[in-house]
Symmetry: C2
DNA sequence: GGTAACTTGTGAATCAATTCACAAGCTGGC
DNA sequence: GCCAGCTTGTGAATTGATTCACAAGTTACC
């Protein structure tokens, strides 16, 4: 299959979100124009995005809401459950462990790990915090697919290396730095500082 | 000035992060190659990014670390303090209110607001939670520059509209949906579900 | 059955971002 | 002062993403 751009995948997720809304409202068909309006893009973009994976619409009519939703879930790999390990039981890790949005969309938190001996054994939202030295064991036992790295910047690359050695191939990084991972591993980084600085730049340079 | 792409601004932030590290280690010059290696990009990219704003390097030598860092802080608008209002005192809002990374980079949390009467008056990390109906007043009193929207998806667009009406021109959105804002307002969205689904897609389509 | 009104899917064209490649400039050593 | 060794800054080339534009297909209605 041809390579699919990140931006395309992001938009597919958005489309799916809208489709689920439409589904809940009992609508059965939707046009690329309607999807585009909701996502802040254009109808041509919507059609191009979808055309990467086949043609699901009916000319003159649009797309079947439930059918397209199902197809998008397949494409995004959301029919199955993904098992997530959270590493770092600080503020962010704890917030994520409790976050309902994970579970709702098929991402099940399987364990919470931390390096701090003082935290090990305590519970967060039902999870007993385990030592990060258990990473290999816990990862294997829980058949973890994805690791969420929510540790301070200093330790993050080291943690990432261990995660990869444990055979986990998806990493979501909340540490405020750029991790280096091999091509076989998929990395997404959420860096609040970066986003804020983006706002800072835009605000600084807008009123001219 | 020519329009600067988001991706460029993001990289500038990254470069600044590295420069600060180098500065702390007492290094005085750095080449585009070294910056590129850290950021997972190429030296040509680094030079192009910087060339949007002038030429700061010395041929044959590289860039002065403190000088380039200062210049990047200027470009990104980080010499001044930005005042942030957090709207939504749930899990995410609370985690953000306590997050030290904000303060460290010149973003001062000025207030925390919520719509739930049961929460108003309670404190989070020193902030008395105020009613969202006070938005106009609090925004003006605190001279807020940026609003962080950390409310459930249902209410988010409505909150955004009020934020904009209150004259706030920068929005960082944590609600899992696409907000619509006029061009005069700068919006950044952090959508965990989107990122996770990106991982799901990549993992589903990698082992072929 | 025919026509009017829509909407998709997609090649072609445009617009944007990244990479290439090299002249020009700086430094240190002799 | 001159040469060798680096490194920047930047047009040109390439690669990638988005938008345009339209043929082809579908439905509703008379």
């Amino acid at each position: 299959m041809k390579h699919i751009a990140d931006s395309t995948v992001r938009r597919l997720s958005l489309y799916l979100r809208f489709l689920e809304e439409f589904e809940a409202r009992g609508l059965t068909t939707i046009s690329s124009d309607e999807l585009a309006a909701r996502g802040g893009t254009t109808s041509a973009q919507v059609r191009k995005d979808l055309s990467c994976f086949g043609s699901f619409g009916k000319r003159g009519l649009g797309y079947s809401v439930p059918q397209l939703a199902r197809r998008l879930r397949e494409i995004l790999g959301l029919q199955r459950e993904w098992r997530v390990i959270i590493i770092g039981a600080g503020k962010i890790g704890a917030a994520l462990a409790q976050y309902q949005g994970f579970r709702q969309r098929g991402f099940r938190v399987a364990a919470v790990l931390d390096a701090d001996p003082a935290k090990i054994g305590r519970t967060i939202d039902g999870f007993v915090i385990q030592s990060i030295d258990e990473l290999d064991r816990v990862g294997a036992r829980e058949r973890a697919d994805i690791a969420v790295i929510a540790v301070p910047a200093e330790g993050a690359q080291h943690v990432a290396d261990r995660v990869i050695r444990a055979g986990i191939r998806g990493i979501m990084n909340f540490a405020p730095l750029q991790l280096h991972v091999p091509d076989s591993v998929t990395l997404r980084t959420v860096n609040m500082a970066l986003e804020l600085e983006g706002l800072s730049f835009a605000l600084s340079n807008s009123r001219e």
